[in-house]
Subunit: 237 residues, 2 copies
DNA sequence: TAACACATTCTTGTATACAAGATTGCAACC
DNA sequence: GGTTGCAATCTTGTATACAAGAATGTGTTA
Protein backbone atom coordinates (compact mmCIF):
# COMPACT_ATOMS: atom_id res chain seq x y z
CA UNK A 1 0.00 0.00 0.00
CA UNK A 2 2.30 2.71 -1.22
CA UNK A 3 0.85 6.19 -0.74
CA UNK A 4 -2.44 4.97 0.65
CA UNK A 5 -5.63 6.21 -0.88
CA UNK A 6 -6.52 8.90 1.64
CA UNK A 7 -4.35 11.96 1.04
CA UNK A 8 -5.96 13.69 3.99
CA UNK A 9 -2.67 15.27 4.87
CA UNK A 10 0.86 15.31 3.65
CA UNK A 11 3.31 13.87 6.12
CA UNK A 12 3.71 16.46 8.79
CA UNK A 13 6.98 18.03 9.78
CA UNK A 14 6.66 16.45 13.21
CA UNK A 15 6.38 12.99 11.62
CA UNK A 16 9.46 13.57 9.50
CA UNK A 17 11.46 14.69 12.51
CA UNK A 18 10.24 11.72 14.52
CA UNK A 19 11.34 9.33 11.79
CA UNK A 20 14.67 11.08 11.32
CA UNK A 21 15.50 10.98 15.01
CA UNK A 22 14.47 7.37 15.35
CA UNK A 23 16.70 6.46 12.45
CA UNK A 24 19.54 8.45 13.99
CA UNK A 25 19.14 6.29 17.07
CA UNK A 26 18.95 3.02 15.15
CA UNK A 27 21.96 3.94 13.02
CA UNK A 28 24.03 4.88 16.07
CA UNK A 29 24.32 8.50 15.02
CA UNK A 30 22.80 9.20 18.41
CA UNK A 31 23.88 6.83 21.15
CA UNK A 32 22.85 6.39 24.77
CA UNK A 33 24.01 9.30 26.87
CA UNK A 34 24.17 11.82 24.03
CA UNK A 35 22.73 15.14 25.08
CA UNK A 36 21.15 17.78 22.89
CA UNK A 37 18.63 20.57 22.98
CA UNK A 38 15.45 21.12 21.05
CA UNK A 39 17.07 24.02 19.25
CA UNK A 40 19.95 21.79 18.12
CA UNK A 41 17.54 19.43 16.40
CA UNK A 42 15.39 22.23 15.04
CA UNK A 43 18.38 23.89 13.43
CA UNK A 44 19.82 20.67 12.07
CA UNK A 45 16.51 19.64 10.52
CA UNK A 46 15.47 23.14 9.46
CA UNK A 47 12.32 23.36 11.50
CA UNK A 48 11.04 25.22 14.50
CA UNK A 49 10.98 23.89 18.01
CA UNK A 50 7.28 23.04 17.97
CA UNK A 51 7.33 19.96 15.72
CA UNK A 52 10.66 18.94 17.23
CA UNK A 53 9.09 18.87 20.67
CA UNK A 54 6.21 16.83 19.37
CA UNK A 55 8.59 14.25 17.93
CA UNK A 56 10.73 14.19 21.06
CA UNK A 57 7.80 13.65 23.39
CA UNK A 58 6.68 10.78 21.24
CA UNK A 59 10.13 9.24 21.44
CA UNK A 60 10.13 9.82 25.16
CA UNK A 61 6.90 7.91 25.65
CA UNK A 62 8.29 5.09 23.56
CA UNK A 63 11.36 4.91 25.76
CA UNK A 64 14.10 6.24 23.50
CA UNK A 65 14.92 9.58 25.10
CA UNK A 66 14.62 11.39 28.41
CA UNK A 67 13.74 15.01 28.95
CA UNK A 68 15.69 16.76 31.69
CA UNK A 69 13.72 19.63 33.08
CA UNK A 70 15.26 22.80 31.66
CA UNK A 71 18.45 20.89 30.98
CA UNK A 72 18.01 19.41 27.55
CA UNK A 73 17.32 15.95 26.22
CA UNK A 74 19.32 12.77 26.40
CA UNK A 75 19.29 9.49 24.55
CA UNK A 76 18.18 7.02 27.19
CA UNK A 77 20.82 4.84 28.72
CA UNK A 78 20.76 1.11 28.17
CA UNK A 79 18.79 -0.54 30.91
CA UNK A 80 19.70 -4.19 31.01
CA UNK A 81 16.85 -5.12 33.26
CA UNK A 82 14.46 -3.53 30.80
CA UNK A 83 16.06 -5.34 27.87
CA UNK A 84 15.65 -8.64 29.70
CA UNK A 85 12.03 -7.86 30.35
CA UNK A 86 11.38 -6.87 26.76
CA UNK A 87 12.85 -10.16 25.57
CA UNK A 88 10.73 -11.94 28.10
CA UNK A 89 7.61 -10.18 26.92
CA UNK A 90 8.54 -10.94 23.34
CA UNK A 91 8.69 -14.62 24.22
CA UNK A 92 5.29 -14.45 25.84
CA UNK A 93 3.76 -12.82 22.78
CA UNK A 94 5.42 -15.03 20.22
CA UNK A 95 4.55 -18.19 22.14
CA UNK A 96 0.95 -17.04 22.20
CA UNK A 97 1.16 -16.35 18.48
CA UNK A 98 2.28 -19.94 17.86
CA UNK A 99 -0.79 -21.27 19.61
CA UNK A 100 -3.10 -18.81 17.90
CA UNK A 101 -1.81 -19.69 14.47
CA UNK A 102 -2.45 -23.36 15.08
CA UNK A 103 -5.97 -22.60 16.22
CA UNK A 104 -6.83 -20.74 13.01
CA UNK A 105 -9.36 -22.32 10.66
CA UNK A 106 -6.79 -22.69 7.95
CA UNK A 107 -3.06 -22.02 7.94
CA UNK A 108 -2.25 -18.42 7.01
CA UNK A 109 -0.50 -17.80 3.67
CA UNK A 110 2.39 -16.18 5.53
CA UNK A 111 3.48 -19.63 6.63
CA UNK A 112 4.21 -20.78 3.10
CA UNK A 113 5.89 -17.50 2.20
CA UNK A 114 8.14 -17.63 5.21
CA UNK A 115 8.92 -21.25 4.56
CA UNK A 116 10.13 -20.32 1.08
CA UNK A 117 12.62 -17.95 2.67
CA UNK A 118 13.88 -20.04 5.56
CA UNK A 119 13.64 -23.50 3.99
CA UNK A 120 15.18 -22.55 0.66
CA UNK A 121 15.43 -25.40 -1.83
CA UNK A 122 18.86 -24.28 -2.82
CA UNK A 123 20.98 -23.33 0.19
CA UNK A 124 22.77 -20.85 -2.02
CA UNK A 125 19.77 -18.59 -1.92
CA UNK A 126 20.59 -17.68 1.61
CA UNK A 127 21.01 -14.08 2.50
CA UNK A 128 23.95 -12.56 4.32
CA UNK A 129 24.85 -10.02 6.94
CA UNK A 130 22.47 -7.17 7.50
CA UNK A 131 19.92 -8.75 5.17
CA UNK A 132 19.61 -11.70 7.49
CA UNK A 133 19.08 -9.31 10.35
CA UNK A 134 16.17 -7.64 8.57
CA UNK A 135 14.78 -10.98 7.46
CA UNK A 136 14.98 -12.33 10.99
CA UNK A 137 13.08 -9.36 12.29
CA UNK A 138 10.32 -9.71 9.73
CA UNK A 139 10.13 -13.46 10.38
CA UNK A 140 9.11 -12.81 13.94
CA UNK A 141 6.88 -9.85 13.15
CA UNK A 142 5.05 -11.64 10.36
CA UNK A 143 4.44 -14.71 12.48
CA UNK A 144 2.87 -12.57 15.16
CA UNK A 145 0.86 -10.71 12.53
CA UNK A 146 -0.31 -14.05 11.11
CA UNK A 147 -1.91 -14.80 14.46
CA UNK A 148 -4.46 -12.16 13.52
CA UNK A 149 -4.56 -9.87 16.55
CA UNK A 150 -3.62 -6.37 15.42
CA UNK A 151 -3.24 -5.03 18.94
CA UNK A 152 -0.80 -7.78 19.76
CA UNK A 153 1.03 -7.12 16.51
CA UNK A 154 1.42 -3.46 17.38
CA UNK A 155 2.71 -4.13 20.87
CA UNK A 156 5.12 -6.67 19.45
CA UNK A 157 6.28 -4.20 16.82
CA UNK A 158 7.02 -1.61 19.48
CA UNK A 159 9.08 -4.18 21.37
CA UNK A 160 10.90 -5.15 18.20
CA UNK A 161 11.78 -1.52 17.53
CA UNK A 162 12.98 -1.09 21.07
CA UNK A 163 15.23 -4.13 20.88
CA UNK A 164 16.58 -3.35 17.42
CA UNK A 165 19.45 -1.32 18.79
CA UNK A 166 20.88 -4.14 20.83
CA UNK A 167 20.09 -6.79 18.24
CA UNK A 168 22.11 -4.88 15.67
CA UNK A 169 25.18 -5.66 17.69
CA UNK A 170 24.51 -9.36 17.45
CA UNK A 171 24.18 -11.11 14.10
CA UNK A 172 27.76 -11.04 13.12
CA UNK A 173 29.00 -14.54 13.75
CA UNK A 174 28.31 -16.87 10.77
CA UNK A 175 27.48 -19.77 13.07
CA UNK A 176 24.58 -17.75 14.44
CA UNK A 177 23.33 -17.17 10.91
CA UNK A 178 23.41 -20.89 10.22
CA UNK A 179 21.62 -21.55 13.46
CA UNK A 180 19.02 -18.89 12.69
CA UNK A 181 18.15 -20.58 9.40
CA UNK A 182 17.92 -23.96 11.06
CA UNK A 183 15.83 -22.75 13.98
CA UNK A 184 13.44 -20.72 11.85
CA UNK A 185 12.95 -23.70 9.56
CA UNK A 186 12.17 -25.95 12.50
CA UNK A 187 9.65 -23.51 13.92
CA UNK A 188 7.88 -23.29 10.58
CA UNK A 189 7.85 -27.05 10.23
CA UNK A 190 6.25 -27.41 13.64
CA UNK A 191 3.62 -24.84 12.71
CA UNK A 192 2.85 -26.47 9.40
CA UNK A 193 2.53 -29.79 11.24
CA UNK A 194 0.09 -28.01 13.55
CA UNK A 195 2.16 -28.67 16.61
CA UNK A 196 1.88 -25.45 18.63
CA UNK A 197 3.62 -26.82 21.70
CA UNK A 198 6.74 -27.73 19.80
CA UNK A 199 6.70 -24.48 17.84
CA UNK A 200 6.41 -22.51 21.07
CA UNK A 201 9.26 -24.40 22.70
CA UNK A 202 11.54 -23.97 19.73
CA UNK A 203 10.63 -20.31 19.47
CA UNK A 204 11.41 -19.79 23.14
CA UNK A 205 14.81 -21.44 22.81
CA UNK A 206 15.51 -19.44 19.66
CA UNK A 207 14.74 -16.10 21.29
CA UNK A 208 16.60 -17.03 24.47
CA UNK A 209 19.73 -17.54 22.35
CA UNK A 210 19.41 -14.02 21.02
CA UNK A 211 18.75 -12.78 24.53
CA UNK A 212 21.91 -14.45 25.78
CA UNK A 213 24.01 -13.05 22.95
CA UNK A 214 22.81 -9.57 23.79
CA UNK A 215 23.85 -9.86 27.40
CA UNK A 216 27.45 -9.14 26.55
CA UNK A 217 26.61 -5.75 25.15
CA UNK A 218 28.04 -2.69 26.78
CA UNK A 219 28.01 1.01 26.14
CA UNK A 220 31.62 0.66 25.00
CA UNK A 221 30.60 -1.80 22.31
CA UNK A 222 28.00 0.69 21.09
CA UNK A 223 30.58 3.46 21.02
CA UNK A 224 32.86 1.29 18.89
CA UNK A 225 30.15 0.53 16.37
CA UNK A 226 29.06 4.15 16.38
CA UNK A 227 32.62 5.22 15.53
CA UNK A 228 32.76 2.70 12.69
CA UNK A 229 29.51 4.01 11.29
CA UNK A 230 30.66 7.59 11.59
CA UNK A 231 33.84 6.85 9.70
CA UNK A 232 31.90 5.16 6.92
CA UNK A 233 29.42 7.96 6.45
CA UNK A 234 31.03 11.15 7.66
CA UNK A 235 29.54 14.59 7.87
CA UNK A 236 26.85 13.64 10.32
CA UNK A 237 26.15 15.41 13.62
CA UNK B 1 4.01 6.71 47.12
CA UNK B 2 2.30 10.03 47.46
CA UNK B 3 4.36 12.93 46.15
CA UNK B 4 7.43 10.89 45.34
CA UNK B 5 10.74 12.08 46.61
CA UNK B 6 12.12 13.75 43.48
CA UNK B 7 10.53 17.15 43.04
CA UNK B 8 12.49 17.72 39.86
CA UNK B 9 9.50 19.45 38.38
CA UNK B 10 6.04 20.35 39.43
CA UNK B 11 3.38 18.57 37.43
CA UNK B 12 3.30 20.29 34.10
CA UNK B 13 0.24 21.92 32.63
CA UNK B 14 0.30 19.36 29.83
CA UNK B 15 0.17 16.53 32.37
CA UNK B 16 -2.76 18.09 34.15
CA UNK B 17 -4.66 18.53 30.92
CA UNK B 18 -3.87 14.97 29.89
CA UNK B 19 -5.21 13.64 33.17
CA UNK B 20 -8.27 15.86 33.05
CA UNK B 21 -9.19 14.80 29.52
CA UNK B 22 -8.62 11.15 30.28
CA UNK B 23 -10.90 11.42 33.28
CA UNK B 24 -13.50 13.21 31.17
CA UNK B 25 -13.44 10.22 28.87
CA UNK B 26 -13.61 7.64 31.67
CA UNK B 27 -16.43 9.52 33.39
CA UNK B 28 -18.43 9.80 30.15
CA UNK B 29 -18.24 13.57 30.10
CA UNK B 30 -16.72 13.05 26.67
CA UNK B 31 -18.15 10.14 24.74
CA UNK B 32 -17.26 8.56 21.41
CA UNK B 33 -18.08 10.86 18.55
CA UNK B 34 -17.86 14.08 20.53
CA UNK B 35 -16.03 16.76 18.58
CA UNK B 36 -14.08 19.68 19.95
CA UNK B 37 -11.21 21.98 19.10
CA UNK B 38 -7.93 22.65 20.82
CA UNK B 39 -9.15 26.14 21.69
CA UNK B 40 -12.26 24.71 23.36
CA UNK B 41 -10.13 22.67 25.73
CA UNK B 42 -7.61 25.43 26.23
CA UNK B 43 -10.32 27.87 27.26
CA UNK B 44 -12.14 25.39 29.46
CA UNK B 45 -8.97 24.44 31.31
CA UNK B 46 -7.46 27.94 31.30
CA UNK B 47 -4.36 27.15 29.33
CA UNK B 48 -2.91 27.87 25.94
CA UNK B 49 -3.09 25.57 22.97
CA UNK B 50 0.46 24.29 23.34
CA UNK B 51 0.07 22.04 26.38
CA UNK B 52 -3.41 21.07 25.17
CA UNK B 53 -1.93 19.81 21.94
CA UNK B 54 0.69 17.87 23.83
CA UNK B 55 -1.98 16.15 25.91
CA UNK B 56 -4.16 15.46 22.89
CA UNK B 57 -1.38 13.90 20.87
CA UNK B 58 -0.59 11.66 23.78
CA UNK B 59 -4.20 10.58 23.99
CA UNK B 60 -4.21 10.05 20.26
CA UNK B 61 -1.26 7.69 20.39
CA UNK B 62 -2.96 5.79 23.19
CA UNK B 63 -6.07 5.38 21.09
CA UNK B 64 -8.57 7.65 22.82
CA UNK B 65 -8.99 10.46 20.28
CA UNK B 66 -8.55 11.19 16.60
CA UNK B 67 -7.23 14.36 15.06
CA UNK B 68 -9.01 15.48 11.90
CA UNK B 69 -6.71 17.52 9.75
CA UNK B 70 -7.77 21.14 10.18
CA UNK B 71 -11.17 19.97 11.35
CA UNK B 72 -10.86 19.49 15.06
CA UNK B 73 -10.60 16.50 17.33
CA UNK B 74 -12.99 13.68 18.07
CA UNK B 75 -13.34 11.09 20.78
CA UNK B 76 -12.60 7.84 18.98
CA UNK B 77 -15.55 5.67 18.12
CA UNK B 78 -15.92 2.27 19.74
CA UNK B 79 -14.21 -0.35 17.63
CA UNK B 80 -15.59 -3.72 18.59
CA UNK B 81 -12.92 -5.64 16.75
CA UNK B 82 -10.30 -3.71 18.70
CA UNK B 83 -12.07 -4.37 21.99
CA UNK B 84 -12.12 -8.07 21.21
CA UNK B 85 -8.43 -7.98 20.42
CA UNK B 86 -7.60 -6.08 23.58
CA UNK B 87 -9.45 -8.67 25.65
CA UNK B 88 -7.62 -11.37 23.78
CA UNK B 89 -4.28 -9.76 24.47
CA UNK B 90 -5.24 -9.31 28.10
CA UNK B 91 -5.88 -13.04 28.33
CA UNK B 92 -2.51 -13.78 26.79
CA UNK B 93 -0.72 -11.55 29.27
CA UNK B 94 -2.60 -12.68 32.34
CA UNK B 95 -2.18 -16.35 31.44
CA UNK B 96 1.54 -15.74 31.11
CA UNK B 97 1.49 -13.98 34.47
CA UNK B 98 -0.08 -17.06 36.10
CA UNK B 99 2.76 -19.23 34.87
CA UNK B 100 5.40 -16.70 35.82
CA UNK B 101 4.06 -16.37 39.33
CA UNK B 102 4.22 -20.11 39.83
CA UNK B 103 7.80 -20.17 38.59
CA UNK B 104 8.95 -17.58 41.15
CA UNK B 105 11.29 -18.71 43.89
CA UNK B 106 8.75 -17.94 46.55
CA UNK B 107 5.14 -16.83 46.27
CA UNK B 108 4.81 -13.04 46.10
CA UNK B 109 3.22 -11.28 49.09
CA UNK B 110 0.53 -9.90 46.78
CA UNK B 111 -1.02 -13.35 46.72
CA UNK B 112 -1.80 -13.30 50.41
CA UNK B 113 -3.04 -9.72 50.28
CA UNK B 114 -5.35 -10.43 47.39
CA UNK B 115 -6.57 -13.58 49.07
CA UNK B 116 -7.58 -11.53 52.09
CA UNK B 117 -9.77 -9.44 49.85
CA UNK B 118 -11.35 -12.09 47.67
CA UNK B 119 -11.52 -14.93 50.19
CA UNK B 120 -12.83 -12.86 53.07
CA UNK B 121 -13.41 -14.81 56.25
CA UNK B 122 -16.68 -13.05 56.80
CA UNK B 123 -18.72 -12.76 53.62
CA UNK B 124 -20.13 -9.53 54.98
CA UNK B 125 -16.85 -7.80 54.29
CA UNK B 126 -17.62 -7.85 50.63
CA UNK B 127 -17.59 -4.63 48.71
CA UNK B 128 -20.35 -3.34 46.48
CA UNK B 129 -20.96 -1.59 43.21
CA UNK B 130 -18.25 0.63 41.90
CA UNK B 131 -15.89 -0.50 44.65
CA UNK B 132 -16.01 -4.02 43.29
CA UNK B 133 -15.21 -2.65 39.85
CA UNK B 134 -12.09 -0.92 41.13
CA UNK B 135 -11.12 -3.96 43.18
CA UNK B 136 -11.55 -6.23 40.20
CA UNK B 137 -9.31 -4.02 38.13
CA UNK B 138 -6.59 -3.97 40.73
CA UNK B 139 -6.89 -7.74 41.21
CA UNK B 140 -5.86 -8.29 37.62
CA UNK B 141 -3.24 -5.54 37.57
CA UNK B 142 -1.62 -6.67 40.78
CA UNK B 143 -1.44 -10.25 39.67
CA UNK B 144 0.35 -9.21 36.51
CA UNK B 145 2.62 -6.94 38.53
CA UNK B 146 3.38 -9.85 40.87
CA UNK B 147 4.81 -11.74 37.92
CA UNK B 148 7.70 -9.29 38.10
CA UNK B 149 8.02 -8.02 34.53
CA UNK B 150 7.57 -4.25 34.58
CA UNK B 151 7.29 -3.95 30.81
CA UNK B 152 4.51 -6.49 30.80
CA UNK B 153 2.84 -4.68 33.67
CA UNK B 154 2.90 -1.41 31.76
CA UNK B 155 1.46 -2.90 28.59
CA UNK B 156 -1.22 -4.58 30.66
CA UNK B 157 -1.98 -1.32 32.41
CA UNK B 158 -2.46 0.45 29.11
CA UNK B 159 -4.87 -2.26 28.00
CA UNK B 160 -6.72 -2.02 31.30
CA UNK B 161 -7.12 1.73 30.86
CA UNK B 162 -8.33 1.26 27.33
CA UNK B 163 -10.94 -1.29 28.36
CA UNK B 164 -12.11 0.62 31.40
CA UNK B 165 -14.74 2.53 29.46
CA UNK B 166 -16.55 -0.57 28.30
CA UNK B 167 -16.04 -2.42 31.56
CA UNK B 168 -17.74 0.39 33.43
CA UNK B 169 -20.94 -0.53 31.67
CA UNK B 170 -20.73 -4.05 32.99
CA UNK B 171 -20.58 -4.77 36.72
CA UNK B 172 -24.10 -3.94 37.56
CA UNK B 173 -25.79 -7.30 37.97
CA UNK B 174 -25.34 -8.72 41.50
CA UNK B 175 -24.95 -12.25 40.17
CA UNK B 176 -21.85 -11.13 38.32
CA UNK B 177 -20.46 -9.72 41.54
CA UNK B 178 -21.01 -13.03 43.27
CA UNK B 179 -19.37 -14.84 40.39
CA UNK B 180 -16.44 -12.43 40.40
CA UNK B 181 -15.75 -13.17 44.06
CA UNK B 182 -15.98 -16.90 43.47
CA UNK B 183 -13.80 -16.87 40.35
CA UNK B 184 -11.12 -14.64 41.85
CA UNK B 185 -10.99 -16.87 44.91
CA UNK B 186 -10.56 -19.95 42.76
CA UNK B 187 -7.76 -18.36 40.75
CA UNK B 188 -5.93 -17.40 43.91
CA UNK B 189 -6.37 -20.89 45.36
CA UNK B 190 -4.89 -22.42 42.23
CA UNK B 191 -1.94 -20.03 42.41
CA UNK B 192 -1.34 -20.74 46.08
CA UNK B 193 -1.47 -24.44 45.28
CA UNK B 194 1.15 -23.74 42.60
CA UNK B 195 -1.06 -24.99 39.83
CA UNK B 196 -0.42 -22.56 36.96
CA UNK B 197 -2.38 -24.54 34.38
CA UNK B 198 -5.55 -24.44 36.41
CA UNK B 199 -5.05 -20.79 37.33
CA UNK B 200 -4.57 -19.89 33.68
CA UNK B 201 -7.67 -21.80 32.60
CA UNK B 202 -9.82 -20.24 35.29
CA UNK B 203 -8.45 -16.80 34.49
CA UNK B 204 -9.22 -17.28 30.82
CA UNK B 205 -12.78 -18.31 31.55
CA UNK B 206 -13.17 -15.42 33.96
CA UNK B 207 -12.01 -12.81 31.44
CA UNK B 208 -14.04 -14.38 28.65
CA UNK B 209 -17.16 -13.86 30.76
CA UNK B 210 -16.37 -10.17 31.02
CA UNK B 211 -15.63 -10.09 27.31
CA UNK B 212 -19.01 -11.64 26.55
CA UNK B 213 -20.83 -9.22 28.81
CA UNK B 214 -19.22 -6.31 27.03
CA UNK B 215 -20.35 -7.50 23.63
CA UNK B 216 -23.82 -6.10 24.17
CA UNK B 217 -22.52 -2.59 24.55
CA UNK B 218 -23.60 0.01 22.07
CA UNK B 219 -23.09 3.70 21.62
CA UNK B 220 -26.68 4.19 22.76
CA UNK B 221 -25.92 2.50 26.05
CA UNK B 222 -22.99 4.86 26.53
CA UNK B 223 -25.21 7.84 25.74
CA UNK B 224 -27.70 6.72 28.38
CA UNK B 225 -25.05 6.38 31.07
CA UNK B 226 -23.51 9.66 30.01
CA UNK B 227 -26.86 11.39 30.46
CA UNK B 228 -27.27 9.85 33.91
CA UNK B 229 -23.83 11.04 34.93
CA UNK B 230 -24.51 14.50 33.57
CA UNK B 231 -27.72 14.77 35.56
CA UNK B 232 -25.96 13.72 38.72
CA UNK B 233 -23.09 16.20 38.42
CA UNK B 234 -24.31 19.09 36.32
CA UNK B 235 -22.39 22.11 35.19
CA UNK B 236 -19.88 20.15 33.13
CA UNK B 237 -19.09 20.74 29.46
C1' DT C 1 -38.16 26.34 -1.96
C1' DA C 2 -33.67 24.60 -3.82
C1' DA C 3 -29.16 25.36 -5.29
C1' DC C 4 -25.09 27.81 -6.03
C1' DA C 5 -21.31 31.49 -5.17
C1' DC C 6 -18.83 33.82 -2.05
C1' DA C 7 -17.10 35.64 2.10
C1' DT C 8 -16.47 34.91 6.90
C1' DT C 9 -15.14 32.10 10.60
C1' DC C 10 -12.86 28.28 12.48
C1' DT C 11 -9.25 24.68 12.69
C1' DT C 12 -4.87 22.64 12.85
C1' DG C 13 0.23 22.95 11.95
C1' DT C 14 4.20 25.72 12.40
C1' DA C 15 6.99 29.61 13.90
C1' DT C 16 8.19 32.79 17.27
C1' DA C 17 8.14 35.44 21.88
C1' DC C 18 8.49 35.30 26.70
C1' DA C 19 9.19 33.43 31.57
C1' DA C 20 11.37 30.86 35.09
C1' DG C 21 15.00 28.61 36.25
C1' DA C 22 19.29 25.46 35.35
C1' DT C 23 24.07 25.52 33.70
C1' DT C 24 28.33 27.35 32.87
C1' DG C 25 32.24 30.27 32.55
C1' DC C 26 34.96 33.56 34.83
C1' DA C 27 36.80 36.49 38.07
C1' DA C 28 37.83 37.29 42.92
C1' DC C 29 39.40 35.53 47.05
C1' DC C 30 41.38 32.17 50.54
C1' DG D 1 45.38 25.14 43.52
C1' DG D 2 40.66 25.20 45.21
C1' DT D 3 36.39 27.46 46.23
C1' DT D 4 32.81 30.90 46.08
C1' DG D 5 29.85 34.58 43.94
C1' DC D 6 27.83 36.25 40.10
C1' DA D 7 26.47 37.24 35.61
C1' DA D 8 25.76 35.74 30.99
C1' DT D 9 23.93 32.01 28.41
C1' DC D 10 21.16 28.20 27.56
C1' DT D 11 17.08 25.20 28.33
C1' DT D 12 12.45 23.79 28.58
C1' DG D 13 7.47 25.02 29.26
C1' DT D 14 3.93 28.05 27.91
C1' DA D 15 1.65 31.68 25.29
C1' DT D 16 0.85 33.88 21.12
C1' DA D 17 1.13 35.03 15.94
C1' DC D 18 0.64 33.54 11.35
C1' DA D 19 -0.45 30.44 7.25
C1' DA D 20 -3.07 27.30 4.61
C1' DG D 21 -7.07 25.42 4.06
C1' DA D 22 -11.72 23.27 5.76
C1' DA D 23 -16.41 24.30 7.28
C1' DT D 24 -20.20 27.20 7.54
C1' DG D 25 -23.51 30.69 6.90
C1' DT D 26 -25.66 34.06 3.92
C1' DG D 27 -27.33 36.29 0.05
C1' DT D 28 -28.67 35.69 -4.70
C1' DT D 29 -30.83 33.48 -8.45
C1' DA D 30 -33.91 30.52 -10.62
Amino acid sequence: MAESGAPTQRESMADRIYQALKEDIFEFRLIPGDKFSESDIAQRLSASRTPVREALYRLEREGYVDVLFRSGWQIRQLDFKQIEELYDLRITLERAAMHKICRLDKPPPALRLLNDIWNPDAPSERAFGSTVRALDESFHCELVAAAGNDEMTQVHQRITDRLRIVRRLDFTRPDRIDATYREHAEILQALIANNPGEAAEKMTAHIRTSQEAVKGISLERIREVSQQHRRREPGCP
